[in-house]
Amino acid sequence: MNAALRISAPGGAATIQDLGRPGFQRYGVPEAGAMDRGALRIANLLVGNDETEACIEFAVVGGAYEMVGGPGRLAVAGDFTVTVDGVKLAAYQSYDLREGSRLSIGRSASGVYGYLAVDGGLDIAAVLGSRSTHVRSGIGGGVLQAGMRLPLRQQRESFAVAQILPRASWPQYDGPIRVVLGPQDDFFTPKGIADFLAGDYRVSLRSDRMGYRLEGPPIARAGDFNIVSDGIALGSIQVPGTGLPIVLLADRQSTGGYPKIATVVSCDIRRLAQRRPQDVVRFAAVSADEAEEIAKADQAAFHGLCSHIRTAIDTDPYDSARLLQLNLVDGFIDGEV
């Protein structure tokens, strides 16, 4: 029997997610998937997985885990404190656990979402091509609960050396959120659009994987506040009758009837998703052509970031955690050992 990861205590709003379930929004099935896809990809790369592999996603608090039935290599992406068998370690690295070892992930120092990747992947059936969980429709890998055992799909016999993303290369999430106006910006007055682009908005407490509600200057409309329902892209900013925008995210419905003033540029979705309630959000408009260039530049930057993943230390895997602590108390290691 393969080793398994036992959930001692689930993290906040913890679910199984991968890069989402595209292809079925035409049938009303939401896309779901990681709120911060970049972080999920990094977590996978740190354990040597394909970057599309399913991970455990958690919000604000990471949860506690135990390896049962064999050893396993895990990695955490996100600005969280990590403890392996009582030893405090940095995030954004791999951890080799022997059978019975415990890993716990504390509160996030910054941001909201974190990812726990497991070497070899989790043995969870794909539904409609994805393991992503959509809680409202009950599709996908599911919500994590204490006592659950998540078997590993592949067992690795031995681990080479720990992998790490140096702190200087951790993803950055600050700055304005870039948007392309449309598809229904013509439902708003020029002043409404100007207020939207100049305003300081704050992430509402009533925000979740479906969407982030924002509090700030209401956006004036030019006419009706309903449209004939149409499709909703990831990052669409809909404005209901209150005039307050809602940015629609991973678990959004596939269609909706409120006008959408703008759409967040794809690579800024993760930057918005990592804002906490009460954090400030400012928008900056870019043209669709500029957005395309931004997407290309972001892809190149992401590859550059991933190329900074490096071998941390070359030693017995069961000692590596302790040795790493010497170098990584503040999470930074320079050069290969």
């Binding site: 035409r26 049938y27 149409d230 957005a291």
Partner: protein, 252 residues
């Protein structure tokens, strides 16, 4: 209303192409709920799917527009716009040979559709008249949305047009046959609804255990067939073992 476009891009007279970020374009054929416009959406969707352009991730057909989601790293936005304009220029509505006419069994009234009496009273009709009008019309599936497999239908006879409930229900059963405003619907999973429940179908329009989990597609036609309670229970048992408990024929 049809305000002057801000983000509208130059396109064929038939449609306008709107931006939905760096990974999305909306091809909009109009702003009304209209069978002809929806026919154009279905036709463009079929055309785009048959061409299987690398970089097109998925399409979401709705009442009067098609959302095209794409990967800008693989497929340039301007190139995609040019393709969409070309395809949209000579579309024929109903340009989709896959369209079907479904005969959906429904048990109306007590225990199955708790608003039947209310709707009848509202319109000064008997419940039998409501059932007759509802089941003799032919509907068109305009889109699937809101929840997996939830079908929005157009074609509700005018004398059954009914404003939505003031107080939406938090839970309505899967298979609910309902009406709201000028529309009708077939629900697929349990969920909230502000529409009036006339009956329920034993048919599962969404079933992950089936090879094709989704029965209804935009552009399909639907006719409702009243069935007694005993038949409902028989068909429901069949549905639960994976059978498709509705007949269909080619619609075109």
């Amino acid at each position: 209303m049809s305000p002057a476009p801000h983000s509208g891009l130059p396109s064929a007279a038939l449609c306008r192409i709107l931006n939905a970020g760096d990974c999305g374009l909306v091809v909009e054929f109009g702003s009304a709920v209209d069978a002809r416009l929806n026919g154009l959406v279905v036709a463009l969707d079929a055309r785009l799917r048959s061409e299987a352009l690398p970089g097109v991730v998925e399409t979401v057909p709705t009442y009067r527009s098609l959302l095209v989601l794409f990967d800008p790293i693989v497929l340039g936005r301007r190139e995609l716009i040019a393709k969409l304009e070309m395809m949209s220029a000579d579309l024929r509505p109903e340009d989709d040979s896959q369209t079907r006419r479904w005969f959906v069994p429904v048990t109306y009234g007590e225990g199955f559709g708790e608003d039947l009496d209310h709707v009848a009273a509202l319109h000064g009709l008997t419940t039998d008249e409501v059932i007759r009008h509802h089941s003799q019309a032919e509907y068109r599936v305009y889109m699937i949305g809101f929840a997996p497999g939830f079908a929005y239908l157009g074609g509700l006879p005018e004398l059954l047009h009914t404003p939505r409930r003031i107080d939406p229900r938090q839970r309505t059963p899967a298979g609910s046959i309902s009406i709201g405003g000028v529309q009708a619907a077939i629900s697929s999973v349990e969920g909230p609804s502000g529409w009036h429940l006339l009956g329920r179908t034993p048919l599962r329009t969404f079933d992950l255990a089936r090879e094709d989990p989704f029965l209804l597609k935009p552009g399909d036609r639907v006719r409702f067939q009243p069935v007694p309670q005993a038949e409902f229970l028989r068909l429901k048992a069949m549905s639960e073992s994976g059978a498709v408990t509705a007949e269909w024929e080619a619609a075109s």
